[in-house]
């Protein structure tokens, strides 16, 4: 038999308010590798958990700039060198006429950046996760509010952390295996 590795502890809380208060205490107690789970984003949770702002904006700006640059390059190259046809008396390089496609490609690339950048930052798609084995956790996408503390946290101890989670309002504390 293989030894089962420990993922961490899972605790359920009553409502968004209880969750946010619990998290503030976890943070103040010095825990780092913990995470909350809720069926909707909770206002103020990011600062309660003490996590840094998302960097997604920069990814999107970079992608948008790439889209814009490719649109300019594509249109200029096609119109000025690859397929030189004068239409409706316009110059081969008519920047005015290139604006619509520039805009569209900028938005398209930026949109890809937003969606796939979000996936990348979140490590999705990830069809298997230890938490999925937990029965109680299934309500996390409907009406349950959870905290996990991972065993990799330096302050983690099975009994100590479990007791702490209970003290800060945890309704149930369960062990999650890898």
């Amino acid at each position: 038999m293989t030894t089962v590795k420990l993922y961490g502890l899972l605790a359920e809380y009553k409502d968004p308010s209880a969750l946010i208060h619990a998290v503030e205490k976890l943070r103040d107690a010095g825990y780092k590798n913990f995470e909350t789970y809720s069926p909707f984003p909770i206002h103020g949770m990011d600062s309660a958990m003490g996590i840094k702002d998302s960097v997604l904006g920069w990814i999107v700006v970079a992608c948008g700039a790439t889209g814009l640059a490719s649109a300019i390059a594509l249109q200029t190259w096609v119109s000025v060198s690859a397929y030189r046809v004068v239409t409706s008396g316009k110059l081969l390089f008519s920047f005015q006429a290139f604006v619509p496609v520039c805009f569209e490609l900028m938005v398209l690339f930026a949109g890809f950046g937003a969606v796939f950048g979000m996936f990348a930052l979140n490590g999705l798609p990830k069809l298997y996760h230890p938490l999925f084995k937990n029965h109680r956790f299934r309500t996390a996408t409907s009406h349950g509010f959870f905290v996990t503390v991972e065993s990799s946290d330096s302050r983690f101890s099975l009994e100590g952390t479990a007791r702490f989670l209970q003290e800060i309002g945890g309704l149930s504390v369960e062990v999650v295996e890898e």
Partner: protein
């Protein structure tokens, strides 16, 4: 900005967005029910009818491809008829979804949460119907890929100074971004269904499409940012798409087409028609799925106010066009507009004005704004009126050429009519599939606007 509320009369209070005293669990239960229950009888019947419509569309397109564009009633100088009318009609309807999702999101109009999913789905299917027209009207559809800048043995490249090429980019970008936006919004809800699933099939399929979502806060943070950015991108996108559609007409020198107000006027018209379609479908869906606690009268009334506002903007543009045609002192301009109102297609023009400008004015009355039958009828009128608007713009401007010897009276053939009916089949088939297999209200967003979702007790600073 804040809520467009007038449901109650006390300005210091906001109308609740979810009625019926629900908790988080009952919200999931109600919204997931259509997905988890057996399809009701009305759905089966409606689906059967829609699929027949889709078959009709396929038959008409096959005929078109087999015989050529000649099966349509187009002839010089009316080279655009029901094909372009149908395209603009559908793409216009496709604007409400992104408007509701994106613009109202940026304006923090929280009432949008229970209708955005629905409207976005409508957008995607409407753009599909529009795409059918734009792809098939090129004639030799098997070389439609020439529209894209793909290296080919002929060494031919698209003409980037042509509005039709901009259209290709605009509509395909719009479709892609709308689809992504919709999908991103769906992920948490698909996970909800996955976690509630009682059958293996559901578990697997919803499991795959929910990409392993588990509601972690670090995920929510990036997710919310992505959603905000997509909304910020979609807002100018939605304006650009219909503006570019209007460029198809307005960059030309055809009197009645070439006028500078076309871009915002088309956008206002698109929002107008899209909202009307949302109201039409929503009135039916809330009844059939018993979701009146989420799609409340307050929602419908707000939608009706937007229909009134955009209808009036469209009226402003009609008036402006007429004034400027006279003011321009250009006899061709003047003739084009007199001909619109009193020429051979006068019936189309006055249908358009009555449906688009006059009928929504009834929404000034609160009673009518809050009457289900009245809003249903008016929304249908608006849909009809907006179809006629595109007909008036496309056909009446073309049928009187600069050369009187080419003057022509265009009427559609049965193929065009059946193709248009068929496009509704395509739209409704997908829409019914959506109603059955996906949560029609954004579950996580609705929960987020419920009072219980606020973690801060009253009086607590944050």
């Amino acid at each position: 900005m804040s809520e467009l509320v007038v449901g109650n009369d006390d300005p210091s209070k906001r109308t609740p967005l979810v009625l019926g005293g629900h908790d988080f669990k009952s919200v999931s239960d109600i919204i997931c029910r259509p997905v988890e229950a057996k399809a009701p009888q009305w759905w089966m019947i409606a689906f059967g009818v829609s699929v027949s419509g889709l078959c009709l569309l396929i038959a008409m397109l096959s005929k078109l491809v087999w015989s050529g564009i000649g099966v349509w009633g187009l002839n010089n100088p009316v080279m655009w008829g029901w094909d372009l009318v149908g395209f603009v009609f559908w793409v216009g309807i496709g604007h409400a979804g992104t408007l509701i999702s994106a613009i109202l999101f940026l304006f923090r109009q929280k009432w949008r949460t229970s209708i955005n999913r629905f409207a976005e789905a409508m957008t995607i299917f409407a753009v599909m119907s529009a795409g059918i027209y734009i792809v098939f009207h090129v004639g030799r559809v098997w070389v439609a890929y020439y529209l894209f800048p793909i290296p080919n043995s002929m060494g031919i490249w698209p003409n980037f100074r042509s509005p039709l090429v901009w259209d290709v980019f605009a509509v395909s970008t719009y479709f892609t971004i709308s689809l992504l936006f919709w999908f991103v919004g769906l992920i948490p809800d698909l996970a909800t269904i996955r976690d509630r699933a009682t059958t293996k099939t559901r578990k697997i399929w919803y499991g795959i499409f929910s990409v392993g979502w588990r509601g972690a806060n670090r995920h929510w943070m990036n997710y919310e940012r992505a959603y905000l950015i997509l909304a910020a991108l979609s807002t100018p996108l939605v304006l650009s798409v219909h503006s570019i559609v209007s460029f198809d007409f307005a960059v030309s020198q055809v009197p009645g087409w070439h006028t500078t107000i076309f871009p915002p006027y088309f956008v206002a018209g698109a929002i107008f028609s899209g909202f009307a379609m949302v109201v039409t479908l929503m009135v039916a869906a809330r009844e059939l799925f018993n979701m009146k606690d989420f799609m409340t009268m307050h929602h419908l009334e707000t939608m009706n106010k937007i229909i009134l506002a955009t209808g009036t903007m469209v009226g402003y543009a009609y008036g402006m066009e007429f004034f400027m045609a006279w003011f321009s002192g250009n006899t061709f301009e003047q003739y084009a507009f007199i001909n619109r109102a009193f020429g051979p297609y006068y019936w189309a023009y006055w249908t358009m004005v009555s449906c688009n400008v006059i009928s929504p004015q009834l929404f000034w009355f609160k009673k009518i704004r809050r009457s289900i039958p009245m809003m249903f009828i008016i929304s249908i009128f608006v849909n009809i009126g907006m179809w006629f608007e595109r007909f008036v713009i496309t056909v009446t401007s073309l049928h009187r050429d600069f050369l009187p010897s080419s003057w022509f009276y265009y009427s559609p053939t049965w193929v065009e009519v059946c193709q248009f009916i068929g496009s509704f089949g395509l739209f409704l088939t997908f829409f019914l599939l959506f109603l059955k297999f996906l949560p029609i209200i954004a579950i996580s967003e609705v929960k987020g606007v419920m009072p219980a979702a606020n973690p801060h007790q009253p009086g607590e600073e944050h």
